[in-house]
Structure formats: C-alpha cells, structure tokens
C-alpha cells in the first residue's frame, strides 16, 4: 500500500512538473517571438522547410481525402436520395475539419519530428551550449523562427489542402458519379459561409503553435545521446498528433458548439 502511494505521488509530481515546464517553455517562446533580436533570414528558411516542402504530402493527402469524402457521402446519402448534398458535405467537411486536421497531422509528422531531431542533436552535441557561449540566445535563434514559421505556414497549407480537397471531391463527383460540373460547383459555393473557412484557418494557426512548440520542447530538453534524440522525436510526433486531434475537438466546440 505504502509503495503504491509512493508511486502514485511520484507519478503525480512528474505529470505536474512536465506540464509546468511545458507551459513555461511556451511562455518563453512567445516572449522571444515578439522581442528582439529577430532573425528574419532564419524565419524565411523555416518558411520553406515548413511550408513549401510540405506542399506535396499535404496536397496528396487532401486530394485523396476529398475524393473519398465524395464517394462515401454519395454512397451513404443515396440511401435516402440526398445525393444533391454531396458537394456541400464535401466542401464543409473539407474546410472545417479535414483540411486543418490532415495538414496538421502531416506537419506534425514531417516538421515536428525534424525539429525535435535537430534541436535534440544540437543539445546532446553541446551545440546549444555553444550558441549561448557565443552570446546568441537559443530561444531567439532556434525556437522562435521555427514556431513563427509554423504558425504562419500551417494556415496557408490548410488553404491549399481545402482547395485541393474540394477539387478531389469535384473530380470524383463529375468523372465517376455523373454530376453536372457547373451545378456541382455552384452548389459548392452556395452554402459555404465565411465562418466555415475562418474556423479552419484559426484551427490551423493553433495547431501550428502546438506542433512546433512540442517539437522544439522535446528536442530542446532531450538528453542521453542518440537514444534520447530518438525518444524526443517519437514524443514530438505522438504528442503533436494527439494535441492536434484534442484541440480540434475543443476548437470545434468553441466555434460551432450549441
């Protein structure tokens, strides 16, 4: 019994310690993102790495998500002769949910992992300490550019995913399901509201902050050589993906909850 209580206490302390450290890390990230020194060149470099190089994988997943959405909606809705709603379901699902979530998950896997591995390697090979001794602050130089770039790039990637996803749905609907292209497109935009798109972009911004934050956090505090870096990378991807899905629910509740 005593042993059990001891482990429970130890576990609880650990959870709060980690949570506290993560929150104070995020506060430090925000502080170093809005205060000089700034490194515009490094932000630009991260723009490319986070945004541009994620385009293929985000585009591909969005295309197939839109295609499968059209197929499934058609096959389901045709049971009660509501095939006419396919275009609306596709566009609303895409911009509200699938666009930001798929872009978020892909970026968590691609970018979150890379950030954890890079910063982790820099930590274990004393490069972060070396930065400090050269009078450059690692939060400003390493963390802030990555977080700023992801926060700005994920909404843009989401917008691309939205468009490609809707196009994927359109392609299947017109080519395979026999919809009239003009009517399909007209219906797509007829019922779409600004809030649908905006809520998706706000989600993407929040996801971007947490994905980059978690990637950098796990890398920055990694220890124990190659094994530690591997662990940091795994944790960055897992926690990033879980946070995307959890946050997605709460943000949906915030925007559209009764």
């Amino acid at each position: 019994m005593e042993h059990f209580l001891f482990s429970l206490g130890h576990f609880t302390l650990n959870v709060f310690e980690t949570a506290g450290r993560f929150v104070s890390f995020l506060l430090k990230v925000i502080k170093s993102s809005v205060r000089p020194p700034f490194y515009p060149k490094l932000i630009l470099k991260q723009f490319f790495r986070v945004g541009f190089y994620s385009l293929p994988v985000v585009g591909l997943t969005a295309l197939f998500a839109g295609m499968v959405l059209a197929l499934q909606t058609y096959s389901g809705f045709s049971r009660f002769s509501a095939e006419g709603a396919v275009s609306m379901v596709v566009v609303i699902s895409m911009v509200r949910e699938m666009g930001p979530v798929f872009a978020g998950l892909m970026v968590a896997g691609r970018v979150g992992a890379a950030m954890a591995a890079e910063l982790g390697t820099m930590r274990v090979s004393e490069q972060i300490d070396a930065l400090k001794t050269l009078a450059v602050r690692p939060f400003h130089y390493l963390v802030a550019p990555r977080v700023i770039a992801t926060v700005l790039m994920l909404p843009l990637l989401t917008m691309v995913a939205d468009i490609i996803g809707v196009f994927g749905g359109f392609l299947i609907s017109v080519e395979q399901l026999g919809f009239n292209p003009a009517i399909y497109l007209q219906k797509t935009f007829q019922y779409l509201e600004t809030i649908d798109v905006v809520s998706g972009l706000v989600k993407a911004t929040v996801f971007g902050f947490f994905i980059a934050g978690l990637g950098c956090y796990h890398g920055y505090y990694s220890k124990g050589g190659a094994e530690g870096v591997g662990k940091a990378t795994t944790l960055a991807v897992v926690s990033g993906s879980v946070v995307v899905l959890l946050m997605n629910y709460f943000l949906t509740e915030l925007f559209f909850g009764a």
Binding site: S125, Q127, D129, A130, L131, T133, A135
Partner: protein, 254 residues
Amino acid sequence: MNKTNTKIQIKNLHKAFNGKAVLSGINLSVAKGESLVIIGPSGTGKSVLIKNILGLIKPDQGKIYIDSIETTHLSESERQPFYTQMGMLFQGGALFDSLSVWENISFGLMESQKMPEDVAREEAISLLKAVGLSSKIADHSPADLSGGMQKRVSLARAVATKPKIMFFDEPTTGLDPIMAETINHLIIDNVKKLGATAVTITHDIHSASMIADRIAMLYDGKIVWEGTKAEFEKTKDPYILQMKNRSSKGPIGN
C-alpha cells in the same frame, strides 16, 4: 590576492544531479591574465564546474563572481554582456553542423558583433590559417573534417571574438600526441596574444604543465590540491603523484 585583480571567484559551490553530489564545496579563484588548469580523473565534475562558471548549469548552492559581480542568479538576458567576453572550446568541438566551416568561425562576429559578411569571411580565413588549416576548407561542412581539424576550427571559433576569459574543456582528449601538442601551442599562443584569463580542464598531465600558470586538482567534488606550476612539479602530494605516475595505487580509487 588583490581583489581587483581577481577575474573569477568561486565560493562554496555545490551541485548534485538526481541526489548524487558532483561538486561539494568548491572554492577557487583565478587572477586576471592567469592560466588555471583544473586536473582530475574522468567523471569528477570538471566539466560541471566550468559549465557552472559559464552559467550553462545553475549551482544548487554557492556563489560565482566574474569581475567581482555575482553571476549565479542572473537571467539569460542579464548574462549576455558576460558571454560577449567569454570563449569556450567544447570537448566534442560542438561545431554547428548546419553551417560551413567559415560561418562557424565567424558566428560570434556576425551574430553578436554584427560584422558584415564579407569582412567576417576574411577574418574567418585568417583565423583558419592561424590554427594551421588551409583556407580551402572554409566552405566545407564541419562533418567532413577529422576530429583534430574540428577541434582546431572550434578553437578558431572560440577565439574569434577576442574574449577576455577562455575556457577549454579537455582540449587534447582523443587526439594523437602530435596534434595534441599543436593544440597546446595554439592555446598558449592565443591566450597570450589576447592577454586572456584561461581556465582549462584536462586529465592530460603533460598538457596541464604546458598550459598552466597554476594548477588545481579536483577529486570527489572537492579541490584536493592547488598550487603554481613550480609547486606542481615538486609536490609530494599523493593525489598529484598518483596522477603523474599513472598509478592505480593511491588515494584515487576506482
């Protein structure tokens, strides 16, 4: 020792990791322009000690003064002016692998002293030559260099900003004897040229007696012997004798 002449002073420094004491009550001071070498067997907390002085690790207890200013509880931004006058050679080199050799060397010049790129590049190339390397490797990646070359590039980076205090963490470890000798000479030359205060940690006795003005021996979290180079050569202290004779018998147990 005259107080205004003291560059670094450490008072009763304690540090433990996960309940295991690494440093237990270190008292040490380094005079301006002096070269102090801290020797001791591996795993006695030599690196931890200089990382405390640099502010990379926060001590559990005790105080550190640099130029008579207490630095122990400074925040990161308050510490910046101290870092601009320090240089550190890390044991593994710690070169930035995302940057080329010359960008590594001129990193402090460009990022913290805002030197223009073309001037910084020329400066980097002259520093490369000063550590006996060819300017041909300026655009290489640090990963393409051998261990000895990496250490020399790292030394060039550490002295580039002309620091007033230099730290060397195991400068000769893992190098062949000839390269080790080259590094020793480079350290002596650079420290003299800059008139800097230097703190070196090593377990290489030969290197220590070459570089040092004064030597301190760290064992089991404490300074067990301290003296000038002349005293070091004559002393009958059992710790020093055991290190010198590479003996497995003596007060230093395994």
